[in-house]
């Protein structure tokens, strides 16, 4: 042995420490490099351009880089998807945690986790070919690629997250709560709705928020299914352009270092901060219930 025992032990410890620090390094690099590519936009043509109300990145007259249509696009799709996903996710979690028989649980849990494994591009493909035409028929639209189509797919994609984490929260409600309620003469459903769900509420809220974090950052399904028209609208049956879709579809064609290029990095920064805040709050909520 070249090194005496204690020295070797120290060296090995620092190896592990170094590896663990890479996570911090990567986070710093992400913020750093997004910032590095985005910041020159502030000098030329200035922050004001981002506050414009329209996104017209390629034009003979005047290019406009207003983030408003993209932000509202992402908001509409995310809110809609979350509203759809909450009842399904929460009911599913309650059913699997409290009501399902053992064979149902054995099959349903892995099956729903399987859904989380289906690549988003495949979900987007399904939406484009199968769901889009259905939405078009049902609402009598000229095109089936709308905010609603994207939201339905995203709701489906966030359901596994919501179910897995909510189920955990429901399972961690102390048994004594349930037994006390049943002993007082409450029925099974009364116990679930009035005792177990309120006790697990913070965990369920965290689950919904983490699902939302996944939805707002999702790219392929919205890129393929929401129509990609940069309009400021709150209607679910209009096409929208989300922040993720705009980066994915325009980054490939843009000239390196141009205003358009820098504007796209700004979109990335806004997206990064939005998900950071949502996830941070979700983690805080999750911690409060885990510490209880």
């Amino acid at each position: 042995m070249i090194f005496p025992g204690p020295v070797k032990d120290k060296l090995i410890k620092y190896c592990f420490l170094g590896a663990a620090s890479t996570s911090i390094l990567i986070v710093l690099l992400i913020f750093g490099f997004l910032g590095k590519e985005a910041v020159p936009f502030l000098r030329e043509p200035g922050l004001g351009k981002l506050l414009d109300s329209r996104w017209v990145p390629v034009s003979f007259v005047q290019e406009r880089f207003g983030l408003l249509p993209l932000v509202t696009g992402s908001l509409v799709v995310t809110m809609l998807a979350t509203l759809i996903a909450i009842p399904f996710g929460v009911c599913g979690a309650i059913y699997i945690a409290e009501i399902a028989g053992s064979w149902e649980r054995e099959i349903f849990k892995p099956f729903i986790e399987l859904l989380a494994g289906i690549p988003s591009v495949v979900i987007g493909f399904f939406g484009l070919i199968v769901l889009g035409p259905i939405v078009k028929e049902v609402f009598g639209l000229s095109s089936g690629l709308t905010a609603l189509t994207g939201a339905l797919l995203l709701a489906l994609m966030s359901i596994p997250t919501i179910i897995t984490i909510s189920e955990d929260a429901i399972k961690s409600v102390p048994r004594s709560y349930k037994e006390a309620s049943l002993a007082m003469g409450a029925t099974r459903m009364q116990t679930i709705i009035k005792v177990i769900v309120p006790a697990a509420l913070s965990g369920i809220i965290a689950a919904v928020m983490l699902g939302m974090g996944r939805v707002i950052g999702e790219t392929m399904a919205v890129l393929m299914c929401t129509g990609n028209a940069p309009m400021v609208t709150l209607s679910p049956v209009e096409p929208v352009y989300t922040m993720t879709a705009v980066i994915a579809s325009e980054m490939g064609e843009v000239a390196f270092g141009s205003e358009h290029y820098r504007a796209l990095f700004w979109v990335g920064l806004v997206l990064l901060f939005a998900t950071f805040i949502i996830n941070y709050i979700a983690q805080k909520v999750l911690h409060t219930y885990q510490q209880r």
Binding site: A20, F88, G117, F125, I216, L223, M224, M251
Partner: protein
């Protein structure tokens, strides 16, 4: 009488919603399997695309995807496992440990397209790797690092404290204890948990879009600085950008099926391994 009725009613609401979710998942899988299966043939799997992607197979895309997956494992797995060992065995509560944990949670929440932007800015442009396999692998490795760390740490923590204390009490150093008494029992769990995370890499499109993908390149990659075709991106192109979209519809379904089979195959393999190892070590 009334309360019994509402009891039943609520029960069925829960039950029907859950079954509705299950049915929707089945619908997607069946749709793709039924329409994709007739396309799968020897030629489709093992030939290069011909005539602008309207004929031929997807072999280069399959190879490209496998390259990315293997490369990502090679980089992210050791890094993730070492980080997990530090967090579970060495880290003392304090500011630095909190910073690492915050970084991991933050990384796990970063949208995949933002990883794409980051990879473009750092690996493609700053390090000048160009649009290449290497840039893609590094980007994807950053993306799955948190998944690997979290699942590896879980499996390290599952090793009972007594095993460590026994070894330390006999005079072994910390490293000897970890090497002889902790790692042998947790390495299998670390691996399977990580493979589950890697399944995601095979299906991820957004980061690849900006760092690796070639639109149409009917040959195999020669080095890690080449562009490659990859399955998810190939499906995206066929479904949205192709000039004869309806003509290549069967090829779209075939590609989707191969992609799902690959991702789920990796996942099922990991789940199978996990249940195998769980039976081996019981405390």
């Amino acid at each position: 009488m009334k309360s019994r009725w509402s009891e039943k009613w609520i029960y069925w609401v829960f039950r029907i919603t859950t079954y509705f979710i299950i049915l929707t998942i089945s619908w997607i899988i069946f749709d793709i399997v039924i329409k994709g299966l007739p396309v799968i043939s020897w030629e489709f799997l093992f030939a290069a695309p011909r005539e602008g992607g309207t004929k031929g197979g997807i072999f280069p895309a399959i190879v490209g995807t496998l390259c990315l997956v293997l490369g990502t494992i090679l980089i992210a797995l050791p890094l993730g496992m070492l980080s997990a060992v530090y967090l579970s065995e060495y880290a003392k509560p304090g500011r630095f440990t909190r910073a690492i944990r915050l970084a991991i949670v933050t990384l796990a929440g970063v949208p995949s397209i933002v990883f794409g932007l980051f990879g473009l800015g750092l690996f493609v442009i700053f390090f000048n790797f160009g649009t290449s396999i290497l840039a893609g692998i590094l980007t994807l490795a950053c993306m799955i690092l948190p998944t690997i760390i979290v699942s590896s740490e879980e499996s390290l923590r599952a090793v009972p404290l007594g095993l460590r204390e026994g070894s330390l009490a006999l005079g072994a150093t910390k490293w000897q204890t970890i090497y002889k008494n902790v790692l042998p029992y947790s390495v299998s769990g670390m691996l399977t948990g990580s493979i589950l995370g890697v399944g995601r890499v095979a299906g991820e499109t957004a980061p690849i879009l900006l760092t690796v993908a070639a639109f149409f390149l009917p040959k195999l990659p020669g080095s890690i600085f080449d562009q490659v075709m990859v399955l998810p991106y190939h499906l995206y192109i066929l479904a949205t950008q192709h000039h004869e979209m309806d003509l290549v519809r069967p090829l779209q379904y075939g590609t989707a099926l191969v992609l799902i089979a690959l991702v789920l195959g990796i996942n099922i393999f990991a789940i199978f391994l996990r249940s195998h190892f769980r039976k081996k070590y019981k405390w």
